[in-house]
Subunit: 213 residues, 2 copies
Amino acid sequence: MAYEVLIFEDNARLRQSLEILLNDENLFHVAGAFPDCDKADRQVEKHNADLVVMDIDMPGIGGVEGVKRIKNTNPEVKVVMHTMFDDDNRIFDSICAGADGYLLKNTSPLQLVNALQEVMNGGAPMSPFVAHKVFQHFRQRKSDAEQFNLTNRETEILDLLVKGNSYKMIADKTNVSIDTVKKHLQNIYHKLHVNCGTEAVAKALKHRIVNPD
Amino acid sequence: MAYEVLIFEDNARLRQSLEILLNDENLFHVAGAFPDCDKADRQVEKHNADLVVMDIDMPGIGGVEGVKRIKNTNPEVKVVMHTMFDDDNRIFDSICAGADGYLLKNTSPLQLVNALQEVMNGGAPMSPFVAHKVFQHFRQRKSDAEQFNLTNRETEILDLLVKGNSYKMIADKTNVSIDTVKKHLQNIYHKLHVNCGTEAVAKALKHRIVNPD
DNA sequence: TTAGCAACTACCCTAATGTGTAATTGTCTG
DNA sequence: CAGACAATTACACATTAGGGTAGTTGCTAA
């Protein structure tokens, strides 16, 4: 049995090319190809699709919103993004929305077919450039985490603040006076270039200076 | 010119196999192969390596620490993990430590060579299973975000709080009085089961109720 | 050994935050 | 239509947070 595939792509020529390419493989059967994904979730149900190839920039609702809807109603359907966009936001938004793969449009036909097979086997194919971005995302943080030069004591106190402790509670838990805690936090705010606790918490979490949980 | 490759792998047979495999390719030249990476950073400098294939579980310091050291002294050298371990911690620790690729040991020789080429071309090759884990990492949580039943207005105000705004600034930006802001935040704190702003910020970020940046 | 720095303490003062109570308006739903 | 609820405002009160200034101790690197 071939996998039932839906294509959402507003460029007519590209849409037809994809259709021909995939139908040429015994593994896939294109059940439908559409220029927008306004009713994507319903199409998926109607055609009992296994796999969706999704462009991002389309008239009406975009591909990112499209993935969201499909995954909402049919989480088991695999969705692979196929787009020209290589900016961080588009990539991460798509992944968060539930995309199972992210291919740029410079992917060769052979690579595309391989990638679609890979996704059906539980993988998460992505173009080298995208993979690189994704790896960068992890490293980013960590790298500038030590940039702030917080002392051990300061890190400890910041951690307690993030956990929701008041100055007084921090003072109790660290066995120092509340005035000392104030002083430390004042220094911390300077080092983080913020001017209040909430902002410090946001920055601490964003840069993984302290870990959540 | 072939790329100079170093191999760190404690299993002698596998180490030799890798050496033979890569030397067989014109693109690579194995400059050294070692059973541990205790002096990895120095070996990299000594052999002027372009690429490192790194096992994780080795006697002495592990591969994750090895990557860290190499990237510390020679950030431009590419490092690809080649290991049996497929658990989240090992994968994410490696990536954060600076690894440029992550291949499981069930990778075929041909795939391995392709992956090493890919990494030299700026990609970030990873085994399908690893890619899947990485994608999952982005999607996690998200689900319980709507559990708190915040209204649009409340979400908006919480977002401003996370961005470091004081009550007064929030009042200005939302064109309501400061007392209204107080009231909204009071309601927000109740809904999030917290009792101060810093705690609310921590919870909001943790549960992705608002997005960072 | 002197200077720098982390860690700590104390006091004063202002501004910001958090709680309670109470009331008005508009919208949506049973 | 009545009741629920979001959004709004107001005021009073207590507590906390944050800034500035000034000082002590102990360790470490020049």
